[in-house]
Structures are given as C-alpha cells and as structure tokens.
C-alpha cells in the first residue's frame, strides 16, 4: 500500500509542469502561401522559376 503510494507520488513528480494554453499569432503571407502569383506585384520568390511562357522572370509565390 505504502509502496503504491510512493510510486504514485513519483509519477506525479515526473509529470511535466502544467502550461496553460495561450494564443500566439503567427505571420501568414497569403501571397506566398498560394503558388502562382506574379513576383512583380508581390515581391516574393522563387526567383527564376519557369516563367518562360511569358518571356519574363516575374512569377513568384
């Protein structure tokens, strides 16, 4: 009985400390998250993906 209580106490001590939930804001850039935008307007990469259909290097994402 005593041994079981000791094991229980030890398990409680090994538990990670409670961290309350929190809301964290992260920066999402839609013009980068969605492929196929024009780099000229959004100033985002990739720098030289295959834009040769339009004879330019302006597509990004």
């Amino acid at each position: 009985m005593k041994e079981a209580r000791q094991n229980n106490n030890q398990a409680n001590n090994n538990r990670a400390a409670y961290q309350p939930p929190e809301v964290v804001r992260v920066s999402l850039r839609p013009e980068e998250a969605v492929l196929g935008h024009c780099k000229t307007f959004s100033s985002t990469g990739p720098a030289a993906a295959s834009c040769r259909t339009f004879f330019c290097k302006t597509f990004g994402s």
């Binding site: 992260v26 998250a33 969605v34 990739p46 720098a47 993906a49 295959s50 834009c51 994402s61």
Partner: protein, 308 residues
Amino acid sequence: MPQRRTKFATQAASEPTRFALRIGGFSLGLWCEQGMPVALDPEHIPFLAPSGADSPCDLEFDVSWASELRAPLSAPDFASGGLWSAHRDHCGTRFYFSSPAFGGGPYKAAWLDPSFSRGHVVLNRESFQSHDSLFPLEYPIDELVLMHRLALGEGVELHALGLVDQDSCGYLFLGHSGAGKSTTARLWMRQPGVRLLSDDRIILRHQAAGYRMYGTPWHGDAGISSPASAPLSAIFFLEQAPTHRIVPISQPQAAAELFARAFLPHYVKSGIEFTLQFLDQLTRSIPCSIFRFAPTDDAVEAIRHAHA
C-alpha cells in the same frame, strides 16, 4: 532574360516524347504528344531521371494539344488569385491556368486523379503557337502537383533553405521572403564541404530512418537548386538582427511557424489535417530555434557552435 531551354534530342515526329524527372523522392514521367517541341528549363536538367524513363513513375502524365480550352462555368473550389484555379469532384482535381497575357481563357489545364498519381496536361495550341519550345510541367504545375501529392500523407514543402554541413548535419533555415534565406545560403556557400539543396523550397518527408529534406528546382535569389537529399538535424527560423543570437522556441509555436511557411492546398481539409499532424510530430523530434543573425561569416560558426 531567362536562360534558354534545353531541347530534347530530335525524335521521330511520329513518336511521342518520353522523359522522367525525380523531385522530392518522387518520379514524374511524361508522355508528350508526337511532334510537340518539348524542352527542359535549365533548373530542371539536374532533376532529369538518369534512367528508368521507360518504367512506370510515381506520377504519370500524358501531355497533348487542344485546339480550344475552356474553364468550367461553375465556380472553382479554389481560385488562387494568381494563375490557377482548382475544381474538385469524385474524379479528381482539374486545374486551369490563365493569364491576362493570353486573354481570358485558359492557356493550359491539368487534370489529376484523386491519388495524384495520374494526370493529363492539355496545352492550348493557340497560346503556344509562337513558342519554339515548351516545358509541359512549367511553373506552377510542377510545384502545384507535388504540393497536392505531399498533402495526401507523404510530406510537406517548406519555404526554406536546406543545407548539409561538412559533418553531415542537415540544417533547415525557414523564412518568408526577405528573411535572409539566400543571404544565409551565400554565407554557407563559402564554406568547404557544405552542400546546399535549395535556397527557397525544400521538400520534407518522413522515412524509417527519420526526417529527410530534398532539394527542389524552385530556387531563390542565390540560384541554388540541387536534386540531392539529406537527413534533417535541426530547424532554425530566420530573423535579421544586429548580432547573432539563438533563441529557444516552444514546440507548439515552432509547429505554427512551420505551418505559416508551408505550401499546402489550403482548400483541402484532409491536407490541412495531415500537415498539422506532420508538423506536430516533426517539432517533437527535431530541435527548433529562432536564429537572429547579422549577414556576416561568423553566422555559420554560431550555428555550428549551437548544434555542437
């Protein structure tokens, strides 16, 4: 001006052109309609599969001309606001690509089955009549198709620089545009024994041996794209600062920051769910930190010291 394309060796006009690429651990095979002036963009040449083009690939495409191409009248499931829109039904996903440069109608389309293993690319002949060569999987089809395939449970594409240090440690540096991925790439390029995979897009997959990062053809300002791959050892979120400092980040926040720098089909619920799970597991397995850095050579040593 962009670099010139490399045309395939002349083939008999009566035969279809066959070639295969290998990107992110996937093989992509193309059968192109006979007589089509198929060429590879310079970025894709290192990704040409050295052999096995005759074997079935993970993703197989038929490519053909259409004399007329029209988008469906129904509203798309997703309109990117850029070049492409997506229509989904039980048969799969149909992408339509249009640009003001070609008028209102689509200049090409790609129809994919639900497993993203078979597809049909259709090119509007009128749109390409002034082109002496074309790459059927031209951006953004190539990246779009792989992004959707990864979201079916196979990995994730990240806005990141990936590199392998001389001691074989694989580092991933994440950042939105302007965060310093290409700058960081240039710092590491000067180091002997360092291999860089891409300075803008990395595909990450989980395998029996752990997480593996793959270079892609889609590079940033430093122009780095490699078909190589390597195990992942550590993840850093880039922030520019006057001096170097490595700052711890909590596991949930690391997962959220990764999600904000991931390319995935945001309109596909199952894809979102898989990616969230994938990033949750990833951030529990791989150490993640914020790397505040100045663009000086000792930024490299700061990373090596932190990981030692």
